[in-house]
């Protein structure tokens, strides 16, 4: 089969630009895309946090290199970025949203997120699709669909791959007979959704030929809602080659930045600052363990999502959550031993994984939880929330590794098990490494390839 022309669309862009003026100057110099390879990662730009970008980019890059893809275009919301950029052949089209529309769009998104996760204030949620805020969400999706349509006229795409709930209406708005795949990244439980939403959600989902989700549970719920098309289970994936094993001096230097001494034990939580990520439960569990393990430190890595970042949409939810966690740690008397690192780049993360005894994923809801897989890549065991999609991969030792995110006592008991179990933690780390293979890009690429090329040929 000849390589495919693919158009990916997601709200979150691949990169955020840090040095806007310098990038703008480069952007003005030529009419073509800004070449990211000529810029400096970490200075001019950085990769957006989150699972979407972490898996989509390696897929596109490998797809181009391996011939599965002939061209790859990625349309995403990136208000402060140059309109066109390119990285290793992947062409990034950045759209923007007027400031006056941003608030309504974000409120709608939060409301959808809250309903899907069963959190937030449910009052007035039934009426969401009739609110003025929703009209801005509609605007964003229509503007994205129009941009994709323009690109399709010049690129004649073979398929459209739309990512996540922010862009659900885009598929219906595209009105094309070409192939459309929708990837649902967040949890899905049709029982938590307002009854009045269901006909609209079914209609929007049915505009896609395939819906892909990250867990069997979510796929069953999507079908139970009334989706009649094809569903596919595809675990999120990453490229293990992107995860290095830093040398001891580098690890020590990185840890010294946050006051982690050589004799300290580290329990690691990696995730954006969001109540959903359950950092508060990790702190409560840590408080129960801390007295018996005086050298243990709880390290919380992450700041906001793309939506919450200054380079992104600039919402402040993460800052509020960060402050409340600091207050909680102080109140429980463990403030000095809870370390907030903020954003850490991949190299720094590798150091922290290597330095940790284990990782915690205490999310109350989690679409998948690639951080568990990252931890397994470093052969570190992870205590995984039973509400996370990745819990499906824990095929043994469930009693030791799966935690109830609502029960700090359960989390603390399992933390103690890993801390006091001698070599058991290492065994579980090795088991995790084996489970992680299901999320390695090589196997996932062949699955993606089978999915899209098989579907198009059919």
């Amino acid at each position: 089969m000849q390589g495919l022309n693919i158009c990916v669309s997601s709200q979150t862009p691949l990169v955020q630009f840090l040095a806007r003026e310098r990038t703008a100057r480069r952007s003005r110099r030529g009419e073509g895309p800004v070449e990211l390879e000529a810029l400096e990662q970490g200075v001019d730009y950085r990769f957006s946090p989150g699972g979407v970008t972490r898996m989509v980019y390696p897929f596109l890059r490998r797809g181009l290199e391996g011939g599965l893809l002939r061209s790859a275009h990625w349309v995403a919301l990136n208000p402060h970025a140059p309109p066109l950029a390119r990285l290793h052949g992947v062409i990034l089209h950045h759209t923007s949203l007027e400031h006056r529309r941003l608030s309504g769009y974000s409120k709608t998104k939060e409301s959808l997120w809250g309903a899907v996760h069963g959190t937030g204030d449910p009052r007035g949620r039934d009426e969401l699709f009739w609110t003025e805020d929703f009209s801005e969400y509609t605007y964003y999706n229509r503007a994205t669909a129009e941009r994709i349509r323009e690109l399709d006229r010049t690129n004649d795409f073979d398929l459209f791959y739309v990512h996540d709930f922010q862009q659900l209406p885009t598929g219906e708005m595209l009105r094309t007979p070409k192939f459309k795949v929708f990837r649902w990244h967040i949890p899905f439980d049709e029982r938590t959704l307002p009854a009045d939403w269901k006909p609209t959600l079914v209609r929007l989902l049915n505009s896609y030929d395939i819906v892909v989700a990250s867990s069997r549970r979510y796929l069953a719920a999507i079908r139970a809602l009334g989706y009649t098309g094809r569903t596919e289970l595809l675990y999120p994936y990453l490229d293990p080659e992107e995860y290095g094993q830093p040398a001891r001096p580098e690890i020590d230097a990185t840890c010294a930045r946050w006051g982690i001494a050589a004799e300290d034990d580290v329990a690691l939580v990696v995730g954006r600052m969001d109540p959903m990520k359950g950092q508060d439960q990790a702190i409560r569990a840590f408080e129960r363990v801390a007295q018996g393990h005086p050298r243990l430190k709880l390290v919380l890595v992450g700041n906001g999502s793309f939506s919450g970042s200054r380079g992104g949409l600039g919402l402040s939810k993460s800052q509020l959550w960060h402050r409340s966690l600091e207050r909680l740690a102080a109140k429980l008397g463990v403030g000095p031993r809870v370390i907030f690192t903020g954003y850490v780049d991949q190299r720094g993360l590798d150091c922290l994984y290597e330095r940790s005894r284990f990782t915690l994923l205490p999310s109350s809801e989690e679409g998948f939880g690639l951080v568990a897989v990252e931890s397994w890549l470093h052969r570190r065991p992870t205590l995984v929330s039973e509400r996370a999609g990745v819990a499906e991969l824990v095929s043994a030792s469930k009693d030791e590794l799966l935690i109830d995110p609502a029960d700090p006592a359960d989390i603390a008991r399992k933390m103690k098990g890993l801390l006091d179990g001698g070599s058991r933690a290492e065994e579980l780390g090795r088991a995790g490494h084996d489970w992680s293979r299901q999320c390695w890009i090589d196997s996932a690429l062949s699955e993606e390839s089978r999915l899209i090329s098989g579907a198009i040929e059919a």
């Binding site: 039934d126 009426e127 605007y139 229509r142 129009e146 006909p199 609209t200």
Partner: protein, 252 residues
């Protein structure tokens, strides 16, 4: 001062006629291109036919003017053209009736692609509505092509569940109006009708056709009670008009 030498004067009508024919050729070419572009989204055969008809009309006008310039009487020519026009209309009566029936059915007869309908002895799911006919897929998997005129002459029964709820409003959006802005503004305006509409089904805007001149859309709202159909349809149309007017004003 004289513009032309005397010996050229007898030839001037021929020169003018030639210029007229040259201009006619240019205008006919432009008309052909414009019609072709306007009908790009329709059936190619129909677009080619319409382009030819448009260009032919321009040629007829140009030839009459050129003949007139040569001093030849054009009355007979005009009569012949008129007769040809009448003959063409008589010959195309059925297609014209169907095309205009489609226009009226679109506005006044409540069904759309995907609905199950009965018209006369025919029944099936509507799978296509084109300028000439509405194509039904019958229960025994047969394609039934029903001329559009039947949908304005006969009793049409829409047997789709809760079809009474649906009010579909066709909208033409000028090329200068931004579709996302229009949709957003329209949704805001229609949210005021929420108490009268089925809240499980928010208003839905679907693009039916696009051309350089604009975009053809269908807005669908779902009623809460059947008795309010006419009132809601009027109100929705009025709001569509207001949003269009406000955006047209803004784009000027």
């Amino acid at each position: 001062m004289r513009a032309f030498p005397d010996f050229l004067t007898p030839y001037l009508p021929f020169v003018y006629a030639a210029i007229i024919l040259l201009a006619t050729w240019a205008v006919a070419s432009i008309v052909r291109v414009l019609i072709g572009r306007a009908l790009r989204g329709s059936v190619p055969q129909a677009a080619v036919g319409a382009s030819r008809i448009g260009a032919s009309i321009v040629w007829v006008c140009g030839v009459i003017l050129a003949v007139q310039e040569l001093g030849v009487g054009t009355t007979i020519l005009l009569v012949l053209v008129a007769l040809a026009g009448v003959a063409a209309i008589v010959a195309a009566r059925e297609p014209l009736e169907n095309a205009s029936a489609r226009y009226f059915a679109d506005i006044y007869v409540p069904f759309r692609v995907g609905d199950s309908v009965e018209v006369g002895p025919y029944a099936g799911t509507v799978i296509e509505i084109n300028a000439m006919s509405t194509v039904l897929l019958s229960k025994d998997d047969l394609l039934v092509s029903v001329p559009n005129t039947r949908f304005v002459r006969d009793v049409v029964v829409n047997t789709s569940p809760q079809a009474w709820k649906e009010v579909a409003v066709p909208i033409s959006l000028g090329g200068s109006i931004d579709l996302p802005s229009f949709e957003s503004a329209l949704m805001k305006s229609l949210s005021k009708l929420r108490p009268r509409l089925d809240r499980r089904f928010p208003p839905m805007l679907v693009v039916r056709n696009r051309s350089p001149q604009g975009t053809e859309l269908t807005l669908t709202v779902m009623l809460r009670t059947p008795g309010e159909r006419a009132t809601i349809a009027t109100e929705v149309n009025s709001r569509v008009g207001e949003v269009l007017a406000s955006l047209s004003g803004a784009s000027r």
